[in-house]
């Protein structure tokens, strides 16, 4: 799968409260509604600015803080195609894979705001079109690749009825 979009840059330690504030997540399970408030405390107009396929690009420790799965889901429902960061917080990383949001660990210092990016998930390649450079990607653990291939953990369980990494 080839993903294409514009980079929206954020800094280090972007926590789940910034991704989707706690004051919204308790109110509803309507992810389209939550998506409207994604990144709101950092950039009040973020949702209006983005287009389908655009990418969130951040520094270290993206997704730190709470275990709310509403965070990757709000990003996914805002039609962001993937998140690239120098590193991710553990629970967010698991949640993203489980819910089928592609997360890519790579050196994001070579990406500036508004750069056009192409991400080949199969090959694990990030191509910065604006700068004409290829950025290497840290590969996912095998277990996560199997879950992603099944389309997330829900589909993995639908298919196998249990964990199946054979």
């Amino acid at each position: 799968m080839l993903l294409k979009g514009k980079a929206f840059k954020f800094g280090n330690d972007i926590n789940t409260d910034y991704i989707i504030s706690g004051k919204y997540k308790f109110k509803t399970l309507d992810m389209n509604e939550l998506a409207k408030h994604v990144m709101e405390d950092l950039d009040p107009n973020f949702y209006e600015k983005i287009h389908e396929g655009d990418m969130i690009v951040a520094g270290t420790n993206f997704g730190c803080g709470s275990s709310r799965e509403q965070a990757p889901l709000a990003i996914k429902y805002a039609k962001i195609s993937c998140v690239l960061a120098s590193s991710f917080a553990r629970i967010f990383y698991r949640n993203a894979i489980n819910t089928g949001l592609p997360v890519i660990e790579c050196d994001t210092s070579k990406i500036d705001a508004e750069d056009l990016l192409e991400v080949d998930l199969q090959k694990g390649i990030v191509y910065n079109k604006t700068k004409s450079i290829e950025i290497p990607v840290t590969p996912l653990p095998d277990v996560m690749i199997k879950i992603l291939k099944d389309g997330g953990l829900i589909d993995h369980f639908k298919k196998h009825g249990d964990f199946n990494f054979e």
Binding site: G22, T28, C64
Partner: protein, 417 residues
């Protein structure tokens, strides 16, 4: 080969001789969800085709994050949880019972040697009683509810050796804030932490929970401590489960060993808007505050309320400060009433709210206004955390919060102790 606590618990629960870096599928002893995460887990459970729980006696939901419900939307989610629990015949702690991380150990659901997951990041709290417990998301919780298992990467461990004795007026909260300030918000990401040494073994279990609770604030998967007679005593009368204490081997491999001498430690404060933005209190002393909050799974325990009531006894809080107290559980609330602590706090000017999370996570019961400064005993001070992104949250020990409520500005508790 020698093992850390994490390596031993994962080996025992996966049937594999596991070391840091290994991927294992491990059996779980207990799983928990709260009202911010369980509703989504119920959706995932249904979508996965889940029918029965792996073991209804090992599953609990807690309605604490937005309890009692302040809004219709929340009420609908609470109802969803109640109906699911009734159908699946598992435990549900409803409004007023308390914060999940107080309830799970207090009600005897977790004992030393257990492997526990909770759909809440501060599930790492139970490390203080020698269990490996960690936070997961809703879909992982659903998979755990169906299968009783989850996959894990066995983590490396950072060991903190804390020697010396804390001065009067300095508490476990000050120590963990200092450590997080030093290690940073992602200094232990993907890793477990172990806390050992005289400073830990002389602490009461209530104080140890504060440290394990905040391990996630440096990215850690778990905040583990050894079993000892204090844990044994704390557990007696709470749980029918048999403890299986796990000790690290003396020559286990650690990714890092960090030494602290706590005897010179001063009260610490985490400043806005990150938990690792920690300064000695003296650097922010006298900063005016508008709201003081004592509660949460970090510092809403009996011990915490007791320390606060000693400082506030017979005195009144500053006239321009709002002082909110949320006991961590119904049982803490009752014990505090029996000891006269609640009486003292209310007489001093406290607004006591239902045991639960409310103010901590900004759902209700104390949302600050624009530009206001809050001093809180919670574990997070992110922008917007308490419901208003234009407020400023500082974190400190219950003693510091109580002293500051009296003066209306950030105050060193040592002047009151």
């Amino acid at each position: 080969m020698s093992k850390t606590i994490a390596e031993k618990i994962f080996s025992q629960h996966s049937g594999v001789d596991a070391y840091a870096g290994d991927l294992v599928v491990a059996q779980l002893d207990f799983v928990m969800g709260q009202d911010g995460t369980a509703p989504l887990a119920i959706n995932s459970f249904n979508e996965m085709g889940g029918e029965e729980l792996f073991d209804a006696s090992k599953v609990a939901f807690v309605i604490d994050h937005s309890a009692p419900s302040p809004l219709e939307g929340v009420s609908a989610l609470h109802k969803l949880m109640r109906e699911f629990s009734t159908r699946k015949k598992h435990m549900l702690y409803d409004i007023g019972e308390g914060v999940c991380h107080q309830l799970v150990p207090e009600q005897g659901h977790v004992v030393p040697g257990d492997l526990v997951v909770g759909a809440d990041s501060h599930t790492c709290t139970y490390g203080a009683i020698n269990a490996f417990s960690t936070g997961v998301g809703s879909t992982d919780l659903a998979a755990a509810m169906i299968s009783g298992k989850l996959w894990f990467k066995v983590p490396d461990t950072i060991k903190f050796i804390c020697e010396g004795t804390l001065q009067p007026g300095v508490f476990s909260k000050d120590l963990i804030l200092r450590i997080i300030g030093d290690i940073s918000a992602d200094g232990a990401t993907y890793m477990a932490t172990e806390f050992v040494g005289e400073a830990i073994s002389t602490m009461e279990v209530d104080e140890r929970f504060t440290i394990s609770n905040m391990a996630i604030e440096m990215g850690a998967k778990a905040g583990l401590m050894e079993f000892d007679e204090k844990v044994e005593k704390w557990l007696s009368g709470r749980s029918n489960k048999t403890p299986r204490p796990v000790s690290a081997d003396p020559d286990a491999t650690y990714i890092q060993v960090i030494n602290y001498d706590v005897s010179q430690l001063e009260p610490q404060v985490a400043c806005p808007h990150t938990v690792d933005n920690v300064s000695p209190l003296i650097e922010v002393e006298n900063l005016p505050i508008q709201q003081a909050f004592i509660g949460t799974c970090t510092n809403g325990r009996l011990n915490d309320l007791r320390v606060a009531s000693k400082i506030l006894a017979g005195k009144k809080i500053a006239p321009d400060v709002r002082f909110i107290v949320a006991p961590a559980s119904r049982s803490v609330f009752l014990d505090a009433m029996n000891e006269g602590i609640i009486q003292t706090l209310v007489e001093s000017g406290a607004a006591v709210v239902t045991p639960g999370c409310g103010p901590c996570v900004g759902t209700h019961n104390g949302v600050p206004s624009d530009g206001e400064v809050v001093l809180s005993t919670a574990n997070r001070n992110f922008k917007g955390r308490m419901g208003n992104s234009k407020a400023f949250i500082y974190l400190a020990s219950p003693a510091t919060v109580a002293s500051s409520a009296l003066t209306g500005k950030i105050t060193d508790p040592r002047s009151f102790i």
